[in-house]
C-alpha cells in the first residue's frame, strides 16, 4: 500500500511539475493596511507564504518639509519639524533647535538643558509606549495597547501642562526654552517615575515570557551588526544587534554627559531582542529622569539670541539620538533670515530600508512583526 502511494506521488512530481511548484505571486500590502503604521505600501513577492523579496513604496505623506524650510524663517520653521515624527515631536524640535544654535554658535543655558533633557526623555518613553502598543497589537496582543496608552496619557498631561500641547508640542525655541518649568513640574516628573516603574513591570509580565509573544518574535527579522552598519540603521534596532552605540554617549549633547545611564544592547538582533532593548531603554530613561529632576539648576532658560535669527554664512550637520535612531539636520545658511537648505536625516526612512534584508525568507505574518519592530513613523519617512 505504501509503495503505491509513493509511486503516485512521484508520478505527479515528474509528470506535472507546475502542480507542485508554486509560482511566484506578487501581493500588495498597504497602503491602507492597518499594520503598516500609516500609509506604507509594501509589494511582496511571495512563494506560497514565503517572502522572496519586498519593495517599499513610500511618499504618500510627502509634504515637502525641506522645501517649506527654505521658505520660512528659522523661527517659523520650528513648529513644522514636530510634524515629521509626530509621536516624538519633542525630539524633532530639540534636534532642530540645537542645529540652529550650533550655526549661531550659542549654547542653551544649563537650566534649559535640563528641562530639555527631561522633556526629551519623557518623549522617548511616550514614543516607545506607542511602539509597544501598536507592535503588540499587530502581532495579536491587544492588552498592551491599552496599558501603554493609559500610561502615555500621564506623559501627555505633563507636556500639556508645560507647553499647552500634547502631540505637536513645539516645546523649545532656538536658544533654550521659552516656557519656565511650571510649579510642580519636578513633582509631576518624580510622581510619574514612581507611578510608571510598576506599570513597566506589568508590560513585561504580559509579554516577556509570554509563549505566543516569544514564538512570534524570537528569530524573526534578524539583522546582523555588519548589515546594520552597511544599511545605516541606528537607534534601538542597531543596539539590539549588539552594537553599543548611542549618540547621547558617543557625542553627548545637552547635559547628557553629566547623567549616569547605560546603553542596553541585544545579542541576536531579532525582533525579541529589539523588544527587550526598548524596554530596557525605557528603564534607562526613567533613570535619567530621576537624576535630572533632582539636579535642575536655577538660572536663565534662554541664551542670548537675537530676535531675528540670521546665522552667519556656513553649514552645519548636527544629530541627536531620537527614539528611533540618529535624527540629523543639515542646515546651510546664506546669512539671511531663512535657511538656504534644510536637510533632515530621518531615522525611520533609513531604518525602513532594512526591511527587505530582514524579511527575506520569512513568512508574510513576520513582515507585520518586522514593520512593527522597526518602529517607523510614516510622517518622518515621507516628510
Amino acid at each position: 500500500m505504501s509503495d503505491s502511494t509513493k509511486l503516485d506521488y512521484l508520478d505527479l512530481d515528474t509528470k506535472d511539475k507546475t502542480f507542485l511548484d508554486s509560482t511566484e505571486m506578487v501581493l500588495n500590502m498597504g497602503p491602507q493596511h492597518p499594520s503598516t503604521h500609516g500609509v506604507l505600501r509594501v509589494i511582496l513577492k511571495l512563494d506560497g507564504e514565503k517572502v522572496m523579496g519586498t519593495e517599499c513604496v513610500i511618499g504618500y505623506l510627502h509634504r515637502g518639509v525641506e522645501k517649506i524650510g527654505e521658505n520660512r524663517t528659522y523661527t517659523m520653521f520650528n513648529p513644522y519639524v514636530d510634524r515629521m515624527d509626530y509621536v516624538a515631536a519633542v525630539s524633532n524640535g530639540l534636534g532642530y533647535c540645537e542645529t540652529v544654535e550650533k550655526l549661531l554658535n550659542v549654547e542653551a543655558p544649563p537650566r534649559a538643558q535640563y528641562i530639555r533633557v527631561i522633556m526629551t526623555e519623557l518623549c522617548r518613553i511616550a514614543s516607545h509606549q506607542v511602539w509597544l502598543g501598536t507592535h503588540a497589537l499587530d502581532i495579536g496582543a491587544i492588552t498592551p495597547l491599552f496599558y501603554a496608552f493609559r500610561d502615555r496619557e500621564e506623559i501627555l498631561r505633563i507636556f500639556e501642562k508645560y507647553c499647552g500641547a500634547r502631540l505637536t508640542t513645539h516645546a523649545f525655541r532656538i536658544g533654550g526654552c521659552i516656557y519656565e518649568a511650571y510649579d510642580g513640574f519636578e513633582e509631576d516628573v518624580k510622581r510619574y517615575c514612581t507611578f510608571f516603574l510598576p506599570k513597566l513591570d506589568e508590560y513585561e509580565k504580559l509579554l516577556t515570557t509570554n509563549r505566543i509573544w516569544v514564538t512570534r518574535t524570537k528569530g524573526v527579522g534578524i539583522l546582523k551588526p555588519e548589515d546594520c552598519i552597511a544599511l545605516g540603521v541606528t537607534g534601538p534596532v542597531l543596539r539590539a544587534s549588539g552594537v553599543k552605540w548611542d549618540l547621547r554617549k558617543a557625542q553627548p549633547y545637552e547635559c547628557y554627559k553629566d547623567l549616569d545611564f547605560d546603553i542596553p544592547t541585544g545579542i541576536n538582533g531579532d525582533t525579541y531582542d529589539r523588544y527587550l532593548v526598548r524596554i530596557a531603554e525605557i528603564r534607562q530613561s526613567v533613570r535619567i529622569l530621576q537624576q535630572a529632576v533632582e539636579r535642575i539648576p536655577t538660572g536663565p532658560i534662554m541664551a542670548k539670541v537675537p530676535k531675528v535669527i540670521k546665522p552667519p554664512v556656513g553649514e552645519v550637520y548636527h544629530s541627536i539620538e531620537a527614539p528611533k535612531g540618529e535624527l540629523g539636520y543639515f542646515i546651510v545658511s546664506d546669512g539671511s533670515t531663512q535657511p538656504y537648505r534644510v536637510r533632515v536625516r530621518p531615522p525611520s526612512f533609513v531604518n525602513l530600508q532594512a526591511l527587505d534584508t530582514m524579511v527575506r525568507g520569512m513568512l508574510v505574518a513576520d513582515v507585520v512583526a518586522v514593520i512593527g519592530t522597526l518602529d517607523i513613523v510614516l510622517g518622518e519617512v515621507d516628510r
Binding site: 513610500i58 540670521k310 556656513g314 552645519v316 546664506d334 546669512g335 536625516r345
Partner: protein
C-alpha cells in the same frame, strides 16, 4: 528682505576679513576685534553672537574708511550677482584649514583632486573633485574606517557654474568621528553611485535624484522615491517655486485642477 540682509555683510567684511581667520571658533571675538576703533559701539555688538538687524550696519559704517554715501550704493551691486555662493566673510566664525594625517595622505595621492579641507565650527569637511570622488569614498570606507554613511544630500546653487553640491556625511564607529565629503557638479553631470560602498546609499541617492534630478551612475534602481514616478520636475531645485506643481499629473490622477 534678502537685499536688506546682504547689505551689512558686504560692507562689514572689509575691516574684518583681515583679522578674522586667525581667530578661534568663538563668534564674539572676530566681531569685537575689528570694531575697537569705534569705542561706543563695542559693547552693543559684543552681546549679539549672530548678526542682529541694525547693529552691524551701524557698526560697520564708522569702521569703513570709504565715505558712507559711496559704500551704500556699492553694497547691493556687489551682493547681487552671487548672493549665496560668495563666501562673504561673515560676522561669525570662518572656516579654517583642517590638517591631519588623513588630509595629507589624500593630498599626496590625489593632489589637486582635493579642492579644500576645512573645519567650520569644529566640523570637518572635504571638497573633492567629482572625478576622484568614488575612489575617495571607497578609501574612506575601506582604509579610513568610515563605515557608516549617515546621509547623502545635495544643495542647489543656481548661480554657480557647478550648480550642485553633493554632500556625503560619513561617520566612523571606531574613531567616533564625523566628516563631510562634498563634491561640486554641473547641472546634468552624473555622479558615480555609492551603493556598492554603503548599502544605505540606495534610498538616499534615490531621494537626491527625486528632489534634484542628479543621476547616480551604477545605481541598481534609480527611480523616484517620494514623488510619483511620472511626476515632472525636481522640487528642491531653487528654480522650483514652493507653490509649483505638476498640474498635468494632478489633473490626470486626482481629477482636480490644482492641489492648492
Amino acid at each position: 528682505m534678502p537685499e536688506e540682509s546682504k547689505g551689512p555683510e558686504s560692507v562689514s567684511p572689509l575691516p574684518e576679513g583681515a583679522k578674522a581667520p586667525s581667530e578661534t571658533a568663538s563668534p564674539d571675538k572676530p566681531q569685537a576685534v575689528p570694531l575697537t576703533p569705534s569705542a561706543e559701539v563695542k559693547p552693543l555688538t559684543g552681546t549679539a553672537s549672530g548678526a542682529s538687524e541694525a547693529k552691524p550696519t551701524e557698526a560697520a559704517k564708522p569702521a569703513t574708511p570709504a565715505p558712507t554715501a559711496a559704500a551704500k550704493p556699492a553694497a547691493p551691486a556687489a551682493a547681487a550677482p552671487k548672493p549665496a555662493a560668495t563666501p562673504a566673510k561673515p560676522t561669525g566664525p570662518v572656516p579654517e584649514p583642517w590638517e591631519s594625517e588623513l588630509v595629507t595622505g589624500l593630498k599626496q595621492q590625489y593632489g589637486s583632486g582635493i579642492l579644500e579641507a576645512s573645519r567650520y565650527l569644529g566640523q570637518r569637511y572635504l571638497i573633492v573633485d567629482s572625478s576622484v570622488l568614488p575612489e575617495i569614498l571607497r578609501r574612506m570606507r575601506e582604509e579610513e574606517g568610515f563605515d557608516y554613511c549617515v546621509d547623502i544630500t545635495a544643495v542647489h546653487y543656481p548661480k554657480r557654474e557647478h550648480q550642485f553640491d553633493v554632500v556625503y556625511v560619513l561617520y566612523s564607529f571606531a574613531k567616533n568621528e564625523r566628516i563631510r565629503v562634498k563634491t561640486r557638479i554641473k547641472d546634468g553631470e552624473h555622479v558615480p553611485s555609492a551603493v556598492s560602498i554603503w548599502a544605505t546609499a540606495n534610498w538616499l541617492e534615490r531621494e537626491v535624484f527625486d528632489m534634484f534630478g542628479i543621476v547616480f551612475d551604477g545605481h541598481p534602481g534609480l527611480k523616484r522615491i517620494l514623488l510619483p514616478e511620472d511626476w515632472h520636475g525636481h522640487p528642491l531645485r531653487k528654480d522650483y517655486d514652493i507653490l509649483q506643481q505638476d498640474k498635468e499629473w494632478v489633473h490626470i490622477n486626482l481629477g482636480i485642477e490644482s492641489g492648492q
